[in-house]
Symmetry: C2
Subunit: 320 residues, 2 copies
């Protein structure tokens, strides 16, 4: 049966991929984006599709958010300030773009009588977990980043709306996501550096930071499967792969894909930035129990990302 | 050594008691309150004290908050929307009065180079914990009230500021607090009902809700002790008593103290209101390990509260 999805952040990396997948499966999609970081070119396919409509609005405008959600069956709320590293410089950004925007989404849903919401949270909500890989019911975490804190604030409001107003929610705690339409993060930064100067690469931290990455299409598979199969009031899932790499591994894959051998310059220390978590590796048994598993590993995800960037160098210009 | 404390919510139940205690121990205190629920009469003693100054401002005004905190050594942030029951009717209240106001406090501290903050959180952040009594490191909770969600959002921001800006914090997760200057909650409601009609009492829920209450002076003892002795970057403490009562027990103490025997009318159901937690009972071993223990039990706390209300019936008028 066809449903009407509202996708916030529809012009973003994951959002635009999700829009394309939903349209391809016969769903109707209303996309919302303020294009602060979203890319109109990511919506090229969707904009030609009869089942898609775009609302270029800001979720910090409650009336606009409410109007855009008219007639929706389900909201997938992906819009966010997604770059954890700006936290200490601009501490109000996460509060506004994540916490307040999510509140406006919830209020718009309530006004439009939409009761199902999927939400992109983050493995950063676990702070510096002592349990690795970290399960969804890990001990009550202490936050270490404004980004994680704001996503946790969103999770809390969403769950409270489920209790107070009969909403149902699917909350996904992501590791970092890679793949086609990836627009920020270390692969992007390294690619850009190497494009400018293939002989030198500056690396934040000591390169030993361990990271777990998930391929974007695997991420979307997991989200759609969970929304289809998990029927609790509040459904919380870690999304990630069983494994991790070091930033140095990733540098190796990138350089191999590009055929370059730069000199590596490390800023040193175990963290890339203040509030960076040296290791996010999530226990994904809960989502795997639904029958999901990732189709490709981290190395292949990095290589596909490099190939995408190579074929889309316009993106490096637009984000400079 | 004398220090300069900034106390937000200084005209409230706990805030005004804390101000009096700090002044009595020779500290300097700047009080902040918007008097939305604060009581000027609670500050009668403080206002005559040379070590006290009052700023009647709203924490939603960032510039006013920053100006009021000039020269402070330490902030005790107690200002909040403290009535969990308005959550579903006015969902924006917790976001504004708790989450956004706390952000403004943190930013004001950063501007004034104040790096120590004590914060009144709540046992509601544990949602419906499966572990009773609930320890600070209970499994990652799912929120069940907008109030709890907003307090968790504040905790997260505070912890993130400790990481990003070198702050130090003491976060206290309270059970309900009773005692002199208590201004809302079930004892207040029952007292007011019985004052109007001593022969009938309307009770939300089935009266079997179990609750754990802490006496306000014991609460302040614990806060001051923790701020003095606990020296981690982020110090989180449950504050409560080892034990609990049912609402029915409390009704018995209140009626006995008042010498009335009303007919009891129950609304039924295991919860007093949507998002009410049927049982908050906290594991307090962590704060007890510092040497603290409560001086009086729940029954005596209820009786002292009734005696206070009897001697201060002006309060019932002002809150009608």
């Amino acid at each position: 049966m066809s449903e009407h999805y509202i996708v916030t952040g529809c012009a973003g990396f994951i959002g635009s991929q999700l829009v394309d997948r939903l349209l391809a499966s016969g769903q109707r999609v209303t996309g919302i984006d303020n294009f602060s970081t979203g890319q109109r070119r990511f919506l090229q396919g969707a904009l030609g599709h009869p089942g898609f409509s775009l609302h270029e609005i800001d979720l910090l405008d409650p009336a606009a958010a409410q109007a855009a959600m008219e007639g929706g069956d389900c909201v997938v709320h992906l819009a966010a300030n997604a770059d954890v590293r700006f936290g200490p410089e601009r501490p109000g950004l996460d509060l506004q773009q994540n916490t307040v925007a999510t509140f406006n989404v919830l209020e718009a849903m309530r006004a439009q009588k939409i009761r199902r919401i999927a939400f992109s949270s983050t493995g950063s909500v676990y702070g510096e977990s002592q349990i690795i890989p970290t399960p969804e019911d890990a001990p009550f975490p202490v936050q270490t980043s404004l980004y994680g804190a704001s996503k946790l604030a969103c999770e809390g409001m969403i769950a409270a709306y489920c209790e107070a107003y009969g909403f149902q929610s699917w909350i996904f705690r992501f590791v970092s996501i890679l793949g086609e339409r990836y627009t920020h993060g270390h692969v992007f930064d390294f690619y850009r550096q190497l494009q400018t100067d293939p002989t030198n690469l500056q690396i934040l931290g000591d390169g030993r930071q361990r990271k777990s990455y998930l391929y974007v299409q695997d991420c979307i598979d997991a989200m759609l499967m969970a929304m289809n199969k998990a029927s609790e009031k509040v459904n919380i899932f870690n999304l990630g792969v069983d494994g991790y790499c070091e930033v140095n591994d990733s540098i190796g894959w990138i350089c191999e894909a590009l055929g370059v051998r730069p000199a590596l310059h490390y800023s040193g220390g175990s963290r890339g930035w203040v509030g960076d978590n040296p290791f996010i590796y999530l226990d994904t048994r809960r989502i795997r129990a639904l029958g999901w598993s990732p189709s490709i590993n981290i190395g292949l995800g990095v290589i596909r990302t490099v190939e995408f960037l190579r074929a889309n160098e316009w993106l490096l210009e637009s984000r400079s």
